[in-house]
Amino acid sequence: MCLAIPARIIELDDDKAVVDAMGNRFKAKTTLLPEAKLGDLVLIHAGFAISLVDEEEGKKTWQLISEINEFMDTQNRLSG
C-alpha cells in the first residue's frame, strides 16, 4: 500500500504534472510538494508526488535510477 516509485517531472502546470518513469508517463499532482519543479525527480504515490528524491542518494538506492539517466540521454539523442 505504500507502493511508490521515483519518476521525473517532465510537464508541470500549477500542481498538475506529467511524470516519466523509464518512458512510462503518468499524470500526477504536486499539491503535496509545492516546491517541486520541472525536471525534479520525485516519489509518486497514489497519483501524488510525496517527496523529492535526492539524485545521488537515489542512484545508491534504486538500481534503475542511474539507468533512467542513461535512458533519457538515449531518448534525447534519438529525437534531438
Binding site: L3, I5, A21, M22, G23, N24, R25, F26, K27, I44, L64, E67, F71
Partner: protein
C-alpha cells in the same frame, strides 16, 4: 453475409483452399504426425502498440503449433461480430490477419462468421483452429525432460501484457511499451533443424513465465530453478509493473517461447536464437533440478536469496489475449 465474405474477407485472405468456399477445406498434407490446436481471442483493446486482435489470432495459433514441433500448415478462422461494428475496423483487422498469415507462410483455409445483436459480444471475438505437420524425428514432450536440462527463453518478458494494461481505459498511460506479438515458426524451425537436444517448448502466454514453469514442474514432477538476474526484462516494462503492482513473471507474452534443452546443446541453441531478430535477447534462465519434497519452481533473487514462484492465481487481468 455473402457480401461480407466476397467483398471483405476473401480479398484479405485470398488462397486456393479458401477461394473454393466449400463447407470444409480439402487439404493435401505431407506425411508426418499432425498437430491440432484451437484458441479464442477476446483481447481488449482491439488495437494496441505492436499488434491487434487479428495479428494476435494468427501468431497465437501458429505459435501453439510451432512449440509442439510442427510446421503450421492451415488455419480455420471464426469471427463473432457484434452488430454495429464499423466496416472500416473489420477491414483493418482482416487486412492484418491476411498480412500476418502471408508473412508466416500459413493459409486461412476455412472459416465462419456470425453476427450477434449489440451487446451480445464486445465488438469482435475470434476463434481459430490450426493444423501443423510434425516432421519425423521431431519429438517434444514433458516425458523427455530430465534433471540437468537447461531452460532458455528467447527474449524479454512481460512486454505484451504490460502494453495491453497501459492501453486499458482504467489504467491508461502513455508509454513506449510494445507488444512482442510475433510468429515464432521461423525461429523454432531453425532451432529444430539445426540442433538436437530440444526436449520441450511452450509459449508463456496467460500467466506468463510463472505459469509455464509451474506447468513443467507439475507435469514432470521435477523442480525448476531460475535466476532473477538472468531473466531478460526491459526496464520500461519492469518499472510499469512496479508502478502498478504487477509481477512481471506472471505477465502474458505473445512472441516468446520457453525451451527445455539438453545441457550440451544449450549454447548452440542460444547462438541460433541470438542470430534471429526474435531471439537476440535469448538467455539461459535456469535448469531442471531434483525435487526435494514437492515439485517447485524456485527463484534465486537478485540478492542471492531464494523464494518460490507460485502458479499465478487470484484476480488475473481479464482479456489480455
Amino acid at each position: 453475409m455473402d457480401d461480407l465474405i466476397r467483398q471483405h474477407i476473401l480479398p484479405s485472405l485470398k488462397n486456393d483452399a479458401l477461394d473454393e468456399l466449400g463447407d470444409s477445406a480439402r487439404l493435401k498434407l505431407a506425411s508426418g504426425s499432425l498437430c491440432f490446436t484451437t484458441d479464442s481471442y477476446v483481447v481488449k483493446p482491439l488495437f494496441f502498440n505492436g499488434g491487434d486482435i487479428g495479428k494476435l489470432a494468427v501468431c497465437g495459433t501458429v505459435n501453439d503449433l510451432a512449440v509442439a514441433g510442427s510446421k503450421p500448415v492451415a488455419l480455420a478462422l471464426s469471427l463473432i461480430i457484434e452488430d454495429g461494428l464499423e466496416m472500416e475496423l473489420l477491414d483493418k483487422i482482416l487486412a492484418s490477419i491476411g498480412q500476418t498469415a502471408r508473412k508466416t507462410g500459413i493459409d486461412i483455409v476455412t472459416g465462419d462468421t456470425k453476427t450477434v445483436e449489440t451487446g451480445a459480444a464486445d465488438r469482435i471475438f475470434i476463434n481459430t483452429a490450426g493444423i501443423g505437420v510434425r516432421p519425423a524425428g521431431v519429438d517434444l514432450g514433458f516425458e523427455k525432460i530430465a534433471v540437468g536440462d537447461k531452460i532458455i527463453i528467447n527474449g524479454t518478458i512481460g512486454d505484451h501484457g504490460m502494453t495491453i494494461i497501459s492501453q486499458r481505459e482504467e489504467m491508461k498511460f502513455q508509454s513506449q511499451l510494445k507488444s512482442d506479438c510475433a510468429s515464432l515458426a521461423g525461429l523454432i524451425r531453425e532451432l529444430l533443424e539445426n540442433t538436437d537436444g530440444i526436449k520441450f517448448m511452450r509459449d508463456p502466454t496467460r500467466g506468463g513465465l510463472a505459469a509455464t514453469l509451474n506447468e513443467i514442474a507439475r507435469s514432470t514432477a521435477m523442480s525448476v530453478k531460475i535466476r532473477e538476474t538472468d531473466i531478460p526484462v526491459r526496464p520500461a516494462v519492469q518499472t510499469a509493473a512496479d508502478m502498478l503492482g504487477f509481477d512481471v513473471l506472471t505477465i502474458a507474452n505473445e512472441g516468446k517461447f520457453v525451451a527445455v534443452v539438453s545441457p550440451e546443446f544449450a549454447d548452440d541453441c542460444l547462438r541460433i536464437c541470438r542470430n534471429n531478430k526474435l531471439g537476440k535477447d535469448a538467455k539461459i534462465i535456469g535448469e531442471v533440478v531434483e525435487t526435494l519434497d514437492v515439485p517447485l519452481v524456485e527463484i534465486e533473487t537478485q540478492i542471492g536469496g531464494k523464494r518460490i514462484v507460485q502458479m499465478p492465481y487470484g484476480r488475473e487481468l481479464p482479456r489480455i489475449c
